[in-house]
């Protein structure tokens, strides 16, 4: 049988799959539809999650997002900081449950774990993809995975000559949708697999994270660029205030992070987070490709820049040639009224 396996991650707080896992399940379902149109091939969609967990919430959503089957493998030996047990747990299941395609979330842990798995399968792995399609090549269905490379100056579409065809996919690129009913096969497996490659966790230091930030899931992003800079950096604070009042999410460019103005968790772009907001507004953002590659998927893009030839205007739906600082002051006056 033709099969796509989605390697899912757990959101520990919600005790449910991570949002990227759902995104990939829906994408797997869409790929299967594409395969049907291309050459009448049907794919079975299997979602699998291996973790130190007894049961998880909201399994209905796994099925309605597109999965035909969900496999939960509980292994008490799996630890967050060591992927060798996780890898062995998955490989032990996989050897009797082979697949044509394996999709992994391209989160930091998975970008380490996925190659540990694929090396042992002696197959390829395309890193950090932003698009997936099936194509017909010499009458064979092949997964084509597109990723930015060369600091996003170049897009490369990559295919795998060997099965399984594997890719890690950036969170926030694909949309999770309800595509079918909530029925599917659920199996739970208990695993005792151990690995002698121990890594000792001495301590775990939480970093200050009082404010809720969610770039990937935000509907509206107000993005601060370096063009807002001034001696006392007041315009970054002012934009944050606007975001607070209008209940929108603030983000920034890497230059703003590099200059120590805002924390890296707000950074949008190649080396930061992705957004697929309904609305993105750039305030003094130049529009470097490494930033825009993560903004492009937003539905409506608005930019304010003093330079009429700013690169960002090439990506925009609406442009304002003007002083973003002045506009911020005016917005504040208007909403405080």
């Amino acid at each position: 049988m033709n099969k796509i396996t989605v390697f899912c991650e757990l959101n520990k707080e919600k005790n449910a799959l991570s949002s990227c896992s759902y995104e990939l399940i829906t994408k797997a379902y869409e790929l299967s539809k594409q395969a049907q149109e291309l050459n009448n091939t049907e794919f079975f969609i299997e979602a699998i999650c291996c973790d130190n967990v007894e049961n998880i919430e909201n399994k209905e959503k796994i099925f309605s997002s597109g999965a035909n089957k969900f496999v939960l493998i509980e292994n008490k030996n799996i630890e967050n900081h060591n992927f060798d047990v996780l890898k062995d747990t998955f490989l032990n299941y996989y050897k009797d449950n082979k697949s044509d395609v394996i999709l992994f979330p391209a989160t930091a842990p998975m970008r380490h774990c996925a190659p540990c798995i694929t090396v042992n399968l002696d197959c390829g792995l395309v890193a950090d993809c932003i698009d997936l399609n099936f194509i017909l090549k010499d009458e064979n269905l092949m997964l084509s995975a597109t990723r930015p490379t060369f600091g996003s100056e170049l897009m490369a579409t990559i295919i795998s000559k060997k099965l399984p065809q594997c890719a890690t996919i950036r969170p926030g690129i694909f949309k999770n949708k309800t595509v079918k009913d909530e029925n599917g096969e659920f199996i739970k497996i208990q695993s005792e697999i151990e690995n002698n490659k121990k890594i000792k966790l001495i301590s775990n230091i939480l970093q200050n994270n009082n404010d809720e930030i969610n770039i990937e899931g935000a509907e509206i992003i107000l993005c601060a660029g370096y063009g807002l800079n001034s001696a006392n950096r007041e315009y970054f604070k002012k934009l944050e205030k606007i975001a607070q009042i209008t209940k929108t999410q603030i983000g920034c460019t890497r230059k703003v992070v590099d200059f120590g103005i805002m924390d890296s968790k707000y950074q949008i772009g190649l080396t930061g987070s992705n957004t697929k907001a309904q609305l993105y507004i750039g305030f003094g953002v130049a529009g470097a490709i490494q930033h825009m590659c993560s903004v492009k998927n937003s539905k409506k893009i608005v930019a304010i820049n003093t330079d009429a030839d700013a690169e960002i205007f090439n990506y925009c739906d609406y442009k304002i040639v003007g002083d973003a600082k002045k506009i911020i002051d005016e917005i504040l006056t208007q909403i405080e009224q």
């Binding site: 060591n82 930091a108 970008r111 380490h112 190659p115 540990c116 090396v119 002696d122 197959c123 390829g124 792995l125 395309v126 890193a127 950090d128 194509i135 930015p148 490379t149 060369f150 600091g151 100056e153 170049l154 897009m155 490369a156 579409t157 990559i158 795998s160 000559k161 060997k162 490659k197 121990k198 890594i199 000792k200 966790l201 001495i202 301590s203 775990n204 230091i205 970093q207 209008t246 209940k247 929108t248 609305l279 507004i281 409506k300 893009i301 608005v302 930019a303 304010i304 090439n314 990506y315 925009c316 739906d317 609406y318 442009k319 304002i320 003007g322 506009i327 917005i331 006056t333 208007q334």
Partner: protein, 259 residues
């Protein structure tokens, strides 16, 4: 104690040049040591300076020109430099590259204690080669490391950056550590360091020297291949807003929030 640092020569992606046909013009681009690899090298040298009898081997795969970064590594304080170069290596993806590097380590630095690498290479940015190498060498590995607190022949203590926390981890050697953040006390080599470095010879090995079949290296040994590469195109035609800027911006926000 034996440390291997994997280094790569990369084009300067801040300075990309294009041909008229919209292809990357690699010959017009400057090359440099991948920044993350330099940070890994800095940590290795720091460890070397703390103990007696530490060897630091800088290892790279690349064209003959990649000797430049090995000269630089030697000037920074590496004690040994190995270049893996062969036409048959060309076109290697992360799997084939990991096989080549790990085979070379097995053969030429079999008694290594620590392998240090950069978290990513600036040109490819796959971050897959380090973890793949560790699997092939059957050793433990950690990535996203922002500090090596301590490392000796037996153990390494490192700080790993997660999304919302930092883990302090202890690993027994041999192990692989992928570095994500610049080391604070890094310094550039001086002229006399380059002079000193010239006394070391760079060891050069090709495909016959490492114990891998032709089918495992280069294009043949790479399960993935580039189907097409293109410059992302920008097509949108923005509508210009000419007045009432603040009001219009607020309208965008409000109407989107109400949808």
């Amino acid at each position: 104690m034996n440390i291997v640092v994997c280094v790569k020569q990369v084009p300067d992606v801040d300075n990309v040049k294009w041909t008229k046909e919209n292809n990357l013009d690699r010959s017009a681009m400057l090359t440099k040591l991948n920044p993350h690899d330099e940070w890994a090298l800095d940590y290795a040298i720091k460890i070397k300076n703390q103990f007696k009898n530490v060897s630091v081997t800088a290892l790279t795969m690349g064209p003959n020109q990649a000797k430049e970064i090995l000269d630089y590594a030697l000037a920074k304080g590496a004690t040994r430099a190995i270049l893996l170069t062969d036409k048959l290596f060309a076109g290697s993806d992360t799997l084939a590259t990991a096989k080549i590097l790990s085979s070379a380590i097995k053969k030429y630095v079999p008694d290594f204690d620590l392998i240090l690498t950069g978290q990513i290479a600036q040109d490819g940015d796959t971050a897959q080669t380090p973890a793949s190498m560790a699997q092939l060498l059957d050793i433990k590995s950690v990535s996203n490391i922002i500090d090596i607190k301590n490392a000796d022949k037996n153990t390494a203590i490192v700080a790993k950056k997660n999304k919302e926390s930092i883990d302090i981890l202890e690993l027994s050697t041999p192990c692989l550590i992928a570095i994500q953040q610049e080391m604070k006390e890094s310094h550039l080599p001086k002229i006399e360091d380059y002079a000193q470095a010239q006394k070391s010879t760079i060891e050069v090995y090709g495909a016959q020297d490492i114990d891998l079949d032709k089918s495992e290296i280069g294009i043949l040994g790479s399960p993935t291949m580039v189907y097409k590469a293109y410059r992302p195109e920008v097509t949108k035609n923005a509508q210009e807003i000419k007045e009432d800027f603040a009001k219009e911006v607020l309208n965008f926000i409000r109407s989107c929030a109400n949808e």
